[in-house]
């Protein structure tokens, strides 16, 4: 019993630590990637030194190098946010004003429970799934938590005692209705094709091959339209630039105007956690999750007949690395979109959600159903 609890806690720590580190490093990635894309240098000035009796010169040398890369800006951000005054508007509701960012970040982090980050580990006669909670309707769980997450945003707008924040919260809710339907329906194609809602099972079923063993049976191969619709809707889910109507810091005023300090930081963290979440979901649903092409539990079976054996530990490590690399690539890709495309107008977003993505996802279901019935 205690051992199982300890194993579960270990998996939780792995997932939570990974997610929070990915989310934290996105502040660095955001600064540096946008700088590189725009021929700039980006943040490179923030660093601190420690006194000599704590390590002295060699540690300070490393700190200076990290500062030159802009990594220590993340620490500067957090220190600044933690030491800022926490303002609650007079007209606002004290309790709900504090609750809103917590709700927001809580549901974003909860959704990672159902996401499998690696294959099941067989260790000391035990089967350890690298997944916090093995929910058999994992996909529904993730989508449901994603939808609840918007309550934090709406609440933040409503209880701030600021009419413009309220409008920002309402924009968030209307944006949510327009993309969430397409988000859910675009996945039905994948559910039909793989015949399961269990994410771990779905990944395992993506481990087969098409075209005589050459092409991995990934979601993007069999569901290209669904993948495109899902990624567009998922981008809207993250509330980042092409779809950042709810916050829109530069000009139209968003839902967290009345937030300062770490509460604002939590909203920011939520955005970054959601980017990690949709990257992980895209990976799991459409890009084979932790699967490595041609890697079976006992080794690589290449389509030209070669075989390279891999130990069980090696298989697990390959899976974890593959998942991490894919998620990182998608975070990079979403960041690339965020720094390339301009923001959608309010009516354009509604138009895109209701008149384009929704019918297209219905079409995708119909086409997938016909093909699935015809081929089986």
């Amino acid at each position: 019993m205690m051992v199982e609890l300890a194993i579960k806690l270990g998996v939780c720590a792995l997932v939570l630590g990974g997610v929070l580190n990915f989310a934290g490093m996105q502040t660095w990635l955001e600064r540096k990637q946008s700088a590189l894309m725009q021929d700039r240098i980006g943040a490179n000035r923030a660093y601190f030194t420690i006194p000599w009796w704590l390590g002295g010169l060699p540690v300070n040398w490393i700190l200076r190098k990290l500062g030159g890369l802009g990594i220590l800006n993340a620490i500067a951000d957090i220190l600044k946010l933690l030491t800022k005054e926490d303002l609650i508007p007079e007209k606002g509701n004290r309790f709900l004003h504090t609750l809103a960012p917590l709700l927001s970040v809580f549901f974003a982090l909860m959704a990672f429970c159902a996401i499998p980050i690696g294959p099941t580990v067989h260790l000391w006669g035990r089967d350890i799934p690298l997944q916090v909670a093995n929910v058999n309707a994992g996909l529904l769980f993730v989508l449901a938590l994603g939808s609840i997450g918007v309550y934090g945003v709406i609440l933040a707008g409503m209880v701030s005692g600021n009419n413009l924040s309220t409008l920002g919260g309402l924009r968030a809710s209307s944006q949510m209705i327009s993309y969430e339907i397409a988000l859910g329906i675009s996945l039905i194609g994948a559910i039909i094709w793989y015949g399961t809602l269990d994410l771990q099972l779905m990944i395992e079923r993506q481990g087969t091959y098409l075209l005589g063993g050459w092409l991995p049976h990934w979601g993007v191969v069999v569901q290209p339209l669904g993948c495109l619709i899902f990624m567009t809707a998922a981008l809207a889910h993250t509330k980042r630039v092409p779809f950042d109507l709810p916050e829109a810091e530069p000009e139209i005023i968003g839902y967290f105007t009345e937030y300062s300090g770490m509460k604002f930081g939590l909203f920011f963290l939520t955005d970054f956690v959601e980017v990690v979440l949709v990257s992980a979901l895209t990976t799991v649903l459409f890009f084979g999750g932790w699967q490595v092409p041609y890697l079976a539990p006992d080794g690589f079976y290449f389509p030209w007949g070669a075989f390279v054996p891999v130990s069980h530990l090696g298989y697990v490590i390959w899976g974890l690395v593959s998942f991490t690399v894919k998620v990182t690539a998608f975070i990079w890709f979403f960041m690339l979109i965020r720094w390339t495309l301009p923001r959608f107008r309010y009516d354009q977003l509604m138009h895109l959600g209701w008149k384009i993505l929704f019918p297209l996802s219905l079409l995708n279901i119909a086409a997938t159903s016909v093909i699935a019935v015809a081929t089986r």
């Binding site: 990637q33 700088a35 590189l36 894309m37 725009q38 021929d39 700039r40 240098i41 690339l336 979109i337 720094w339 390339t340 495309l341």
Partner: protein
């Protein structure tokens, strides 16, 4: 048969009309892909160049257009009007003869000259003090053009000025004769004391 100019006119008249987009263009997918291709090309090129610079390769190809200002100074055009200086004679005294031309022509009235006698009897006058208030100066360059003796120039290539008070923005004759000797960053000895508001 239409001449070339008629064709051009026609084209200009039609320029405001939007071209009909094809079905494929109206999905905006090609435009989005083009944009992503452009930005990602910049990303990978600059990433490669930054790493190459670290190991000492391709140093002559810049990876960013940034000039890191306090550390790196931009090369200024020689004709740029920058902070003033007073030219000197061979014996080191200022070339200025305190004729007050520049003080008179200055539209911002930021030049204050007090004339004195020059030890050399062939030279009529010399400024005892020559102050410029950079807080007022508009860098028009009229003082340079008005000067009959080529005594004042605006070619020090210094253009940054930051001071803790308006008093700190004065250039005196010592600074003007030896540009760069004054430290603008230092707090002044005393801040400007505003007179108390008149009581009614």
């Amino acid at each position: 048969m239409s001449t070339l100019s008629e064709q051009l006119l026609h084209r200009i008249r039609d320029a405001h009309k939007r071209r009909e987009m094809t079905w494929w263009e109206r999905t905006y997918l090609p435009a989005i892909a083009q944009g992503l291709w452009l930005t990602s090309r910049h990303f990978w090129r600059n990433l490669f160049l930054h790493i190459a610079h670290r190991v000492g390769l391709f140093r002559d190809v810049p990876a960013a257009v940034t000039i890191q200002y306090p550390d790196q100074q931009r090369q200024m055009a020689p004709r740029l009007r920058t902070r003033h200086r007073l030219t000197k004679r061979a014996d080191g005294t200022p070339r200025c003869v305190a004729c007050m031309m520049c003080e008179t022509v200055c539209p911002a009235r930021c030049i204050y000259i007090v004339a004195g006698e020059h030890p050399d009897p062939n030279v009529e006058k010399v400024p005892k003090s020559f102050d410029i208030d950079l807080g007022k100066c508009v860098y028009c360059g009229y003082c340079v053009e008005a000067c009959p003796e080529d005594a004042i120039r605006m070619d020090t290539q210094r253009h940054d000025i930051a001071a803790y008070s308006r008093d700190g923005m004065w250039l005196d004759i010592k600074e003007l004769l030896n540009p760069g000797s004054k430290q603008f960053g230092e707090p002044p000895e005393k801040f400007v004391q505003l007179p108390p508001p008149p009581s009614r």
